[in-house]
């Protein structure tokens, strides 16, 4: 019986560890509401969600890679490239939209696949690998765009994604929700999703157990690239133009969100739900600072502090659950 309640509280600590981020989210949200009731207005909430759509979407893809024990720093560059490319292909003509979107996704997936192959068949550290491919892709984007944000988005493209259903819910926010659902589905309901965790937890064991580790790796990075492309499209939908710099630095926001969400660099843990929570924590914090009228500089300070504190809280709890 002593073993029984031991297991009970062991289970509870494990539960806590898994869901620490949601506690943090709740905390930050309450804080937000306390400071400004804006956070109770649906209009504003969804605005926040829409703001974060690009980062959130990219973070879903990167989560796959990090569950696998990898990381994808090229996602920022992918976002820039795909959004610029998309705009140019649209060329201000609605007929081109479908092709532009598909082609952009193809490019994202292709870059991801390259990362994946390198990660699967070599022992290179994914951090440095994707840092490198990121620089290369950034260069490609510059060559392609020649420094201007070339291209004109198709008419109706921006309008569609920013249209508020019932005057409240922007399509872009829905898109984020939908892609989150897709992510959750892949994570929980597909064999690939389970294999991600197995490979991330112990690659050698996975290989000996007959898992297609290489395929899983490549697919994970490809997905990260694909979601990067989705994010690029979302960014374009938000702003209507895009250039080399649009996606720059986003990879680190993404990274922060994923880690806040409880997906570790070691792999084998975490998941999409946590990531989305992490994304929301960051964006709420950012808007909070903004609303409370602190200067831009202070926003950076607070952001940094939150990242550290939140992941500290998370770390403490999960440490206790072993």
């Amino acid at each position: 019986m002593s073993t029984l309640d031991l297991l009970r509280n062991e289970a509870t600590t494990r539960f806590l560890a898994r869901n620490a981020i949601f506690a943090v989210l709740l905390l930050v949200f309450c804080l937000a509401v306390a400071i400004s009731d804006a956070f109770l207005q649906p209009l504003y909430i969804f605005n926040v969600v829409r703001q974060v759509a690009p980062v959130g979407i990219a973070a879903i893809g990167v989560t796959f890679v990090m569950i696998l024990g990898g990381v994808d720093l090229s996602v920022g560059a992918v976002i820039s490239l795909t959004s610029v490319f998309c705009a140019v292909q649209m060329g201000g003509d609605a007929d081109n939209t479908a092709f532009a979107l598909l082609a952009a996704c193809a490019i994202g997936a292709a870059i991801g696949t390259v990362n994946g192959i390198a990660a699967a068949f070599t022992r290179v550290s994914p951090f440095i690998l994707t840092l490198g491919t990121g620089i290369a892709v950034l260069g490609l984007t510059q060559i392609y765009s020649g420094g201007t944000a070339r291209g004109i988005v198709a008419p109706g493209f921006r309008e569609f994604f920013n249209f508020r259903i019932g005057g409240i819910v922007p399509v872009l926010a829905l898109a984020l929700a939908a892609l989150t659902a897709v992510g959750l589905l892949i994570q929980h309901k597909t064999i690939f999703g389970r294999q991600l965790f197995l490979v991330g937890s112990n690659r050698r064991a996975a290989n000996l157990s007959g898992l297609p580790t290489a395929r899983v790796t490549v697919l994970a990075y490809a997905l990260s690239g694909l979601f990067g492309a989705f994010a690029g499209i979302a960014l374009l939908a938000r702003s209507g133009v895009s250039n080399t710099l649009s996606g720059q630095g986003l990879e680190f926001q993404v990274l922060a969100a994923v880690v806040l969400g409880g997906t570790t660099f070691e792999g084998g843990r975490g998941g999409i739900a946590g990531t989305i929570a992490g994304v929301l924590v960051l964006v709420i914090a950012f808007n909070l600072v903004n609303i409370s009228g602190l200067p831009y500089a202070m926003q950076l300070v607070v952001m940094g502090t939150i990242i550290i504190l939140a992941s500290a809280v998370y770390g403490q709890i999960s440490a206790r659950s072993g």
Binding site: S2, T3, L4, L6, L7, N9, E10, A11, T13, R14, H188, K189, T190, I191, F192, G193, R194, Q195, F197, L198, S201, N202, R204, A205, A206, N207, L208, S209, G210, L211, P212, G268, R269, R320, G322
Partner: protein, 507 residues
């Protein structure tokens, strides 16, 4: 035994609690200089915990440790080391990226001029140490390039280099070859003569009775008894350990004959090609010294070939050469690793995930999982294997070695193998669990699976196999039905002295 004077080591009411677990509970123990004191007990009995407390790697939750009468509170391993306590831990405790010499003297590097490290001195010290104890190691080799056995020797050399008062050895022989074991025992006897106290943890009870003066038995974190080894038998010891007569029958189960044709395996190693047959329903034991190439063969057979280790399999016209474990599994060839922690378990994932890892596709629908079916299949399998676990949701890392091994076997069985290759299936596993696993393998064979068991424990092979092949320098040099096999013949063949014997192809 109680001497008149204060013993070198005396432990009283020592306890260690981990969140949830009581690993050690009010243990008393005294041991004296010039003594080899063994600790035995089932997996999870608390042996390593006790050793970790004595070596300062962990600090007790209660009780007292006295060294030569003085009460000790070790702040950390270095504190214990200053008291002359050196330890060979059960877990790998080296830095793989560093050279042998740097590992041995890690934390105690010799300083020269200006307080800078004297690399030359470090090297000569190391060479001297290795020579003194007859350990064959290259001081400059990087540890990550050594075999498991060689790495263990480095750990031992490191412990010996302290020249302290107490030497702790936690399962030092698990991966050592016979020769290396003999050398280690010689060293231990020497040290005992020099008045050192050696605390010796092992699952190999014969070994324990051979080397130790006294043996303390732990069960569930509590001390059951301390006995003189003189006159003590393995069975008696097992009884105290398990609380019941746990001695398992040594008679191999009768082979169930099948009419399916056997697999003919030809193994091309760097040292030449040799062959082996495997028939459904029989258990073939592979004996050999450490480093004789058994694991490499076992892996080659199941889809992990090296350029110099290739297994060609023929059977009734068909022939295979597997390029990946995946491919091997498709034909029903499955490998269970000798190195659970490193190549076997998915530590932080739960038992179901671990058990179903290889069978996801057959349990799912297309690319989708069938979670309910996974749970059902896992729990059926694991009840069949008599797994002892609180809940299937618990991470496998929390299970004892024996239960982890059962889950790995379950993982293999869920793929419905035709040929099951078990590499050291009971390494580091207590007698109770060991007997159960043997039972499982026998049943499997009876149900028509061909089983290959690689083991460094001759008794195990004698108890389990129908037929024993011996490997020497990566080739099969001898083969004998278990009825004709015994320690001597196997050892002889394994060490290269194989007398030619007419092959009995097992059917």
């Amino acid at each position: 035994m109680n001497h008149g004077h204060t013993p070198l080591l005396s432990v009283s009411a020592l306890s260690k609690r981990y969140p949830g677990v009581v690993a050690l509970n009010g243990v008393d123990l005294t041991a004296d200089a010039g003594e080899v004191h063994a600790l035995v007990g089932a997996n999870g009995a608390g042996k390593s915990t006790l050793m970790n407390l004595l070596s300062g790697a962990q600090s007790p939750s209660g009780g007292e440790i006295r060294i030569a009468g003085q009460s000790m509170q070790f702040a950390g391993p270095s504190a214990a080391q200053e008291q002359g306590i050196a330890t060979v831990y059960q877990e790998f405790s080296l830095v793989p990226q560093l050279s042998v010499s740097r590992n041995i003297y890690l934390g105690r590097e010799p300083k020269g001029a200006l307080g800078l490290i004297d690399g030359r001195a470090l090297r000569t010290q190391t060479i001297a140490l290795l020579e003194r104890f007859g350990l064959k190691l290259d001081p400059d080799a990087e540890v990550s390039t050594l075999s498991v056995a060689e790495q263990q020797l480095v750990e031992i050399a490191r412990a010996l280099s302290f020249e302290g008062r107490i030497l702790i050895l936690d399962e030092p022989t698990a991966v050592l070859s016979l020769a290396e074991q003999e050398n280690l025992f010689a060293i231990i006897r020497q040290l005992r003569r020099d008045g050192m106290l050696i605390l010796y943890v092992s699952h190999y009870l014969k070994e324990v009775l051979a080397i130790a003066d006294q043996v303390t038995v732990l069960r569930d974190g509590e001390k059951i008894a301390t006995r003189l080894t003189k006159g003590l038998t393995v069975d008696a010891l097992v009884e105290t350990m398990t609380g019941a007569s746990g001695a398992f029958d040594k008679a191999a189960a009768p082979r169930t004959m099948r009419d399916e044709p056997p697999y003919l395996v030809s193994y091309q190693a760097d040292t030449g090609t040799s062959t082996l047959t495997l028939a459904a329903g029989e258990i073939v034991g592979v004996a050999g010294l450490v480093g004789s190439g058994r694991t490499t063969f076992a892996k080659a057979l199941t889809g992990n070939p090296l350029p110099t280790a290739i297994a060609d399999i023929r059977r009734a016209g068909e022939s295979f050469r597997f390029a990946s474990p995946r491919a091997a599994m498709r034909e029903g060839f499955v490998y269970i690793t000798e190195d659970r922690k490193r190549d076997g378990i998915f530590t932080e994932l739960d038992i179901v995930a671990n058990a179903t890892a290889s069978a996801l596709n057959r349990l799912g629908r297309g690319p989708l999982r069938d979670v309910r079916r996974e749970k059902a299949a896992a729990s059926d399998m694991l009840t069949r294997l008599r797994l002892v676990a609180s809940s299937l949701g618990a991470p496998i890392g929390k299970l004892s070695g024996g239960n982890q091994q059962k889950v790995l076997i379950g993982r293999a069985l869920l793929t419905e193998p035709r040929v099951l290759v078990c590499d050291e299936p009971t390494r580091g596993i207590d007698v109770g669990a060991k007997a159960e696993i043997h039972e499982i393998l026998r049943d499997l064979a009876a149900s028509g699976v061909a089983i290959l068991v690689v083991s460094s424990e001759t008794e195990e092979l004698l108890a389990l196999a129908h037929r024993i092949v011996v490997m020497h320098e990566r080739c099969f040099v001898a083969e004998m039905p278990v009825e004709e096999a015994d320690d001597m013949r196997i050892l002889l063949a394994a060490s290269g002295g194989a007398e030619v014997m007419e092959k009995n192809n097992g059917n």
